[in-house]
């Protein structure tokens, strides 16, 4: 580098990097990419070669990855999957409402609300402890059998209620952790301005709490998308039940694989979104002091 160039770099705002170092960094980047791609190709080739060579492979391919079966069952499966999506779309907002309400009730300090607080605590303890499938069976078969006046006898309704109760308990704990994650000094600052307890929660604590727990909440959403399949035990023809029917019809499991693909097609974008959101939050925190 010439004296003039050095002087120009010092005077200007453009950063100066030694050209030799630039070349080294570029070489290093190219080499890293090449090694990565090569490693991926070799590993894939080995796995494919080993799997295809196994004696059972043709049978596996015929039973699980049969293109004709896939194509034949797919339209029906997509139609049935719409029910899963509807279950999810109905259950999710209700879960958020139940979860947030229970979390808030558990924080009430007025002694008048002691029964409510105890109820919320018992609810979370019970429904976090019982497997979701069991809750679905209990409500889906148990409640309609009671013949209660006015109670809907559609098992689908009770399946959704069971999902809401089961997930609501988890989400309540997530919200509670979020509320606890807001530093007490925030509450103090809000109260010092004259904001009431309720206003402090509404405008200062909850917005921060919800932001802090968005990634774990999304995680629970993803889990819920899959668990809509549990409602199949009650009889509604959602995607898992449809796949079961198709599979038993031809003694071929390809419809199960097709159903799995549908779930993955829904959960992967959601997972990536959750990852992106989490990374963005980390960046934002990093940017702060």
């Amino acid at each position: 580098m010439t004296e003039a160039e050095t002087a120009a770099a010092r005077a200007g705002s453009t950063p100066y990097v030694d050209p030799a170092r630039v070349r080294y960094r570029k070489r290093h980047a190219v080499r890293s990419a090449a090694i990565g791609i090569l490693s991926l190709l070799v590993t894939t080739a080995i796995v494919v070669a080993v799997v295809v060579r196994t004696p059972g492979w043709p049978a596996v391919q015929e039973t699980f990855f049969n293109p004709e079966e896939f194509a034949a069952s797919f339209p029906e499966l997509v139609e049935a999957f719409w029910l899963n999506i509807r279950i999810f779309l109905i259950a999710e907002p209700l879960i958020l409402i139940v979860g947030l309400s229970v979390a808030l009730v558990r924080r009430l300090r007025n002694p008048l609300f002691l029964p409510l607080r105890l109820l919320a605590t018992v609810y979370v303890d019970v429904f976090r402890g019982v497997p979701t499938l069991l809750v679905i069976l209990l409500l889906g078969f148990g409640v309609p059998a009671l013949d209660l006046q006015g109670a809907p006898d559609d098992v689908l309704v009770w399946g959704i209620v069971a999902l809401v109760l089961s997930y609501g308990a988890y989400v309540a704990e997530v919200f509670r952790a979020g509320i606890d994650s807001v530093h007490p000094s925030q509450r103090m600052a809000a109260r010092s301005l004259g904001l009431s307890e309720w206003q402090t929660n509404r405008y200062v604590v909850l917005p921060q709490a919800v932001r802090n727990v968005t990634p774990p909440l999304l995680n629970d959403f993803i889990s819920l998308q899959k668990d809509t399949a549990l409602v199949s035990v009650l009889g509604p023809i959602e995607v898992l039940r449809q796949a079961q029917i198709d599979a038993s019809f031809n003694f071929n499991y390809t419809p199960y694989v097709a159903a799995a693909c549908l779930f993955i097609a829904l959960t992967i974008p959601m997972t990536r979104f959750a990852d992106w959101l989490q990374a963005r939050q980390r960046r934002q925190r990093g940017a702060g002091t």
Partner: protein, 259 residues
Amino acid sequence: MSRGGDMSTVQVTAGVPMLQVTDVWKAFGNESVLRGISLDVRRHEVVVLIGASGSGKSTLLRCINGLEAVDAGTILLDGEIDVTAFKADLDKVRRRVGIVFQSYNLFPHLTVLDNVTLGPRKVLRESASSTQDRARALLARFGLLEKAGDYPDRLSGGQQQRVAIVRALAMSPEILLFDEITSALDPLLVGEVLDAVRELKSEGLTILMATHEMSFARDVADRVCFLNRGVVCEEGPPQQVLGAPREEATRAFLAHLLG
């Protein structure tokens, strides 16, 4: 223990003190922090609290704001509101008493402007447009107008603390409490925050502040109170307390501070 009610050097309004702290006790567990402290602040007066960490400065300020409940004693605001009454309406107290903390405590999810307008909008129930106009005017006065749309984490410590002062000021408090507001700041940023306090004094605000900035205290305070072991050990005009302290404890503290 001397009382500052009728100091001839203090040029403040006569009559009922803005703040009357009388024989206040406060303990945390078995640790007694305030041991019967008494202190008056008159309207338009700037009173500076000095003293070692643990001498009770912060606790006193928090008691005045109702953020901590006293164990005994009374705190009277403007001669009429008893902060220490068993059923005191603390939200009402806090509308009239502003406090700024050492650690700023801005709301990170709100812009600077929303930090400032939250109190007036939700507590004083003022319209959004009028609070925004007033907030902008206040921000402009403290050189922060261009930061109005930013989130607090984009601001320097000094800027954040000035926003915290503006946030307290937006409630039009009758007295402002400052709890070591420059202690968490980079030394280079202390000046801008202290300048903001000078500006407030020039407007006649009533201020009670805890600080370790002795030269600032000498400069701005109408009266300096040295707190020691939970009581006012010595008080008087800054020249006297800082320049020619009468009490041995004050001398020891100042000597220690100056190294």
